[in-house]
């Protein structure tokens, strides 16, 4: 049996009435399409002005939209006075001449921190910025897909992996060597194509009711042993991938794969570092592998470390579980605002510029300029950490790490 309308319709194609009748429908469709475009366009224009403003004022509008977030973390003083001053960023004319460029920053970093950084940068230099916030690696992928046409001037990562990925694809411009000089040299990648501007340490969160600090594993390498089965949580996050890259670099692929399989067998996959923290805090696991700042954020939210059931532990010797991971900033090669973008990096890395914001900001990450110390209560200084010595550029190519993580059945 024939179901095709086209086939059966042929017989009638010569019917003049039908041919004539076709035209009005055609017109209707065209009208419909035009209407759709019109409505779409109308929605666009109003949507655009309602929020980001026109491109000329995008930076300001964006800052204004984020006043309270950037206000609170402004310069690390009390929330109240800050929110006043950052409301003013919208209207106050900076001392320095205003640059014409608006820097478009793609950022995988926690949004409140980036907003605090850009607000302070605009205040200091007069150069406007606009932020595109998203997931770390996803934004890196977006820049890759955009290629030479990318509207991004700068990319700010959370983890060294994604910024390293852009570097390995040749999408980043060289960073001014003087800027790189300002940072903790342990974190500077050998390629010199991106600037470490903040750092996070891998750490353990543990529940003292379930395990004492002395009983914690000596190394995360021990976690594959049977006594740790079902005791700990982990998350196959970007930082975890970095850990795998580090292990491949130090003990080789085969042993790393064995370790991953052991972790998969013994640990509980909590999917994200935040959930590792929350589940340990809820008493579901004795301890978990995560990034240090999650715990400090929670401590601040709850009104102090003493209000938490869990504790944070930094390894007291160079261990894979205590890796120090840099958040990186790079200038996109295709950017038309190279000078301003380099200016941003210079400010971001300087001890009295961006590093102060990171030290004061409540995102609880480590500033990386020597001598600048985080004001987050209880946080050790970067110099005190016994992290392994690693060239950050080993995190760039995550192909093998991904392959092993997938092979171990974690993704």
């Amino acid at each position: 049996m024939s179901r095709s309308p086209i086939h059966s319709g042929h017989r009638r194609s010569d019917d003049p009435e039908h041919r004539a009748a076709r035209r009005p429908t055609a017109r209707l469709i065209a009208a419909g399409a035009a209407l759709a475009l019109l409505l779409g366009a109308a929605a666009c224009s109003s949507g655009g002005t309602g929020n980001a403003g026109t491109s000329g004022t995008a930076g300001n509008a964006n800052n204004a939209g984020s006043t309270s977030a950037s206000g609170q973390s402004g310069q690390g003083t009390s929330g109240r006075s800050d929110s006043g001053s950052s409301t003013a960023t919208n209207t106050v004319i900076p001392d320095q001449p205003v640059g014409n460029a608006t820097l478009t920053i793609y950022s995988g970093q926690h949004e409140a921190l980036v907003q605090a950084l850009t607000a302070a940068f605009t205040k200091a230099t007069g150069i406007k910025t606009t932020i595109r916030a998203g997931e770390d690696a996803e934004l890196a992928n977006q820049i890759i897909e955009e290629g030479a046409a990318s509207p991004a001037d700068l990319y700010l990562s959370e983890e060294p992996g994604p910024v390293g990925l852009l570097d390995s694809k040749g999408l980043l411009a060289k960073v001014d060597p003087a800027t790189l000089q300002e940072a903790d040299q342990r974190l500077v990648p050998s390629t010199g194509d991106w600037l470490p501007y903040a750092a996070r340490s891998r750490a353990l969160f543990y529940d003292p009711k379930l395990i004492s600090e002395a009983d914690l594993p000596h190394s995360i390498m021990d976690l594959t042993q049977p006594q740790w089965k079902g005791k700990f949580a982990y998350a196959p996050s970007g930082a975890f991938t970095a850990t795998v890259s580090y292990l491949i670099d130090t003990i080789g692929s085969d042993k790393t794969l064995d370790w991953l399989k052991g972790i998969k067998a013994n640990g509980i996959n909590e999917q994200t570092n935040g959930k590792v923290r929350d589940s340990v805090e809820a008493g579901q696991h004795a301890f978990g592998l995560s990034n240090h700042y999650y715990w400090y954020i929670l401590a601040a939210q709850k009104g102090g470390a003493d209000k938490l059931a869990s504790r944070v532990y930094f390894f007291d010797h160079p261990d894979a579980g205590g890796l120090l991971l840099a958040s990186g900033a790079g200038v996109i090669k295709a950017s038309k605002h190279q000078a301003e973008a380099q200016e941003f990096l210079k400010w971001l890395g300087s001890a009295d510029g961006g590093q102060q914001v990171i030290a004061g900001a409540q995102a609880a990450q480590f500033p990386v300029a020597p001598g600048v110390v985080s004001k987050t209560p209880g946080m050790p200084s970067l110099a005190d950490l016994k992290a392994p010595n690693v060239d950050s550029s080993i995190y760039a190519d995550t192909t093998e790490a991904q392959a092993l993580i997938i092979k171990a059945g974690m993704s």
């Binding site: 209707l28 949507g47 929020n51 009390s78 509207p151 990925l165």
Partner: protein, 556 residues
């Protein structure tokens, strides 16, 4: 007019068969479709397939890569997990959707209209918000319990959010069932139950099957909720490879596997839907169906209905309101400036502008999807055949893909060939349309079928041209179905997060992206996020209410 008024207009998926015929008339009797409609439908279908095509046509894809994706040790587990969740959520949604529909339409349950509204409202709650609140509630009130995580918890949370997609069309279809047939069955000695199973249920097949398809495709493409609930599926693995591992090649290879699975689901549903409608001779008059008396037990059943609503709506709302209260009271507390990334008090300006953009984008998506969907649904309703079927099935495929794949496909295409609209709201609206077009097409199809081709013919014979028939006769009659489609698209667009993050114009925020950034994507803290979550739910309430109201009218 009777054809229009008695059909389940608002209900997306129920396809009433034309009265007195065994099957839909073939196109032969009505000439072939206008070429422009064919062209438009073809263009829309191709556009809908673009994301899937991107997966295999983009450089970097190879059969070897696909093979490695299939051969990877985690793939069987991911496939199994996905299939298991599809089955459990599909079954639970069917059970809830059909069971509640029967309860509301065919029994003496008190306040049926109220329940219809309440059972529609879960559509207003985004999946990741409800998962988030369930996990927060679990950590808050049962810190040591892990019951909410894994297959069980995921089934619970997702079914509670998705069952309305089955419930609404089933209510409408139940209403359309001819009471006379049931009477005959009972008159011939069949029991109530047997009558229901053998006479009534088969007539609900199309509604249940199509509703379940929407549910299942939502399950297949869900990410945020499942990540929070610790359940990994193909989509969560794709997202993790894309977002965290930075391994787009392996993510795309896995997505190809997902597309294959989705195509299989579409085929299965097409078969389950069946070709032939139950025979019915004579026009009959629709009467209020017999309602089964529940006796005193009706209060128990009402209690059960209340429990479902409480779980589906109460938990998200309660946690959001507790979070809001915490956030507001934090303003006066001594440790206020301790709330790190959060903000104390509500930033009304930011909230307002995010709500406005959400509304504008979702409205635009609803309107555009309606216009773009019409050629396909019109073709499918008026000129069914192979081309129409392929075009209709094509628009469903993108619905199964994770948002990130659709988004990156559009980034790739946009940057290369549509540079002027890249990162403009137009691009985002286009993404919403690609993602949610099937919801519009399915509803429109119902509306167009309900409008009845005989009225078209009558108008033709009275001298109307084709355009006038469409504008003066068909569209007005199909309007409720068309409008319902727009509402479904609007609802899903407002809730969308993954694609929005990648395609939104730089500097713009919607409620879902604001929700995402206040919670840093993963940190469980609903104090800063609560206003956005509540606003998002409130924005969804109106369209959900409009959908419910239509159904209420039908059952009145």
């Amino acid at each position: 007019m009777s054809e229009a008024t008695e059909s389940p207009l608002a209900e997306a998926l129920y396809e009433p068969q034309p009265r007195g015929t065994r099957r839909a008339p073939r196109s032969g009797r009505h000439g072939r479709a206008p070429r422009l409609v064919l062209l438009a439908a073809g263009v829309v279908a191709v556009a809908s397939l673009a994301p899937a095509a991107y997966l295999v046509l983009r450089e970097g894809f190879s059969i070897g890569l696909l093979w490695r994706a299939l051969d990877s040790p985690s793939t069987p587990e991911l496939l199994w997990h996905t299939a298991a969740l599809v089955l459990t959520v599909g079954a639970a949604s069917m059970l809830l959707g059909v069971g509640l529909a029967v309860l509301v339409v065919r029994t003496s349950l008190p306040a049926p209209r109220l329940w219809i509204v309440l059972f529609t409202m879960p559509l207003a709650v985004p999946g990741f918000v409800s998962a988030y609140t369930w996990v927060a509630a679990s950590f808050r009130y049962a810190p040591s319990s892990t019951a909410i995580f894994g297959l069980g918890g995921s089934t619970l949370v997702m079914s509670l959010g998705l069952f309305p997609y089955v419930f609404l069309p089933t209510v409408a279809a139940l209403r359309g069932v001819d009471a006379a047939q049931e009477e005959v069955s009972r008159g011939l000695g069949r029991s109530e139950l047997r009558t229901f199973l053998t006479v009534t249920l088969p007539q609900l097949r199309v509604a249940i099957s199509a509703g379940s398809l929407i549910v299942v495709l939502h399950v297949v493409s869900e990410f945020g909720a499942l990540q929070l609930l610790n359940y990994s599926t193909l989509t969560t693995a794709i997202m993790q490879r894309m977002q965290v591992l930075g391994s787009p090649e392996s993510a795309r290879a896995l997505a190809v596997v997902l597309v294959g699975g989705a195509a299989l689901l579409l085929l299965v549903e097409k078969i389950a839907r069946g070709r032939q409608a139950p025979a019915r001779v004579g026009r009959g008059v629709l009467r209020a169906p017999v309602r089964w008396g529940l006796g005193r037990a009706r209060w128990l059943w009402a209690l059960a209905c209340a429990a479902v609503s409480l779980l589906a709506l109460g938990v998200p709302l309660y946690i959001a309101i507790v979070g809001l209260a915490d956030g507001l009271s934090g303003a006066g507390a001594a440790g206020a400036d301790a709330a790190l990334d959060g903000q104390v008090g509500i930033d009304w300006a930011a909230l307002g502008s995010a709500a406005l953009s959400t509304l504008e984008l979702a409205l635009a998506a609803g309107v555009v999807a309606t216009v773009v969907g019409l050629p396909i649904s019109w073709l499918y309703a008026r000129h069914p055949g192979r081309f129409a079927t392929i075009a209709e099935r094509s628009v469903w495929l993108a619905h199964a893909l994770p948002g990130v794949i659709v988004a990156l496909a559009l980034v790739y295409l946009g940057v290369r060939w549509f540079r002027p609209v890249y990162q403009t709201p137009l691009m985002l609206v286009a993404a919403y349309v690609v993602l949610f077009l099937p919801l519009a097409v399915a509803s429109q199809h119902v509306g167009l079928r309900a409008a009845g081709r005989r009225l078209d013919e009558a108008a033709h014979s009275l001298g109307y041209g084709r355009l006038r028939v469409l504008v003066r006769v068909t569209l007005p009659l199909a309007l409720p179905g068309v409008a319902a489609g727009a509402l479904f698209v609007l609802l899903d667009s407002a809730k969308e997060l993954t694609t929005t993050l990648l395609l939104i114009p730089t500097g713009m925020t919607t409620l879902s992206t604001a929700l995402w950034s206040t919670t840093n994507g993963e940190v469980l803290d609903f104090t800063a996020a609560a206003p956005y979550g509540i606003a998002l739910i409130l924005i969804g309430v109106l369209p959900a209410y409009l959908l419910a109201r239509r159904t209420v009218r039908l059952t009145a």
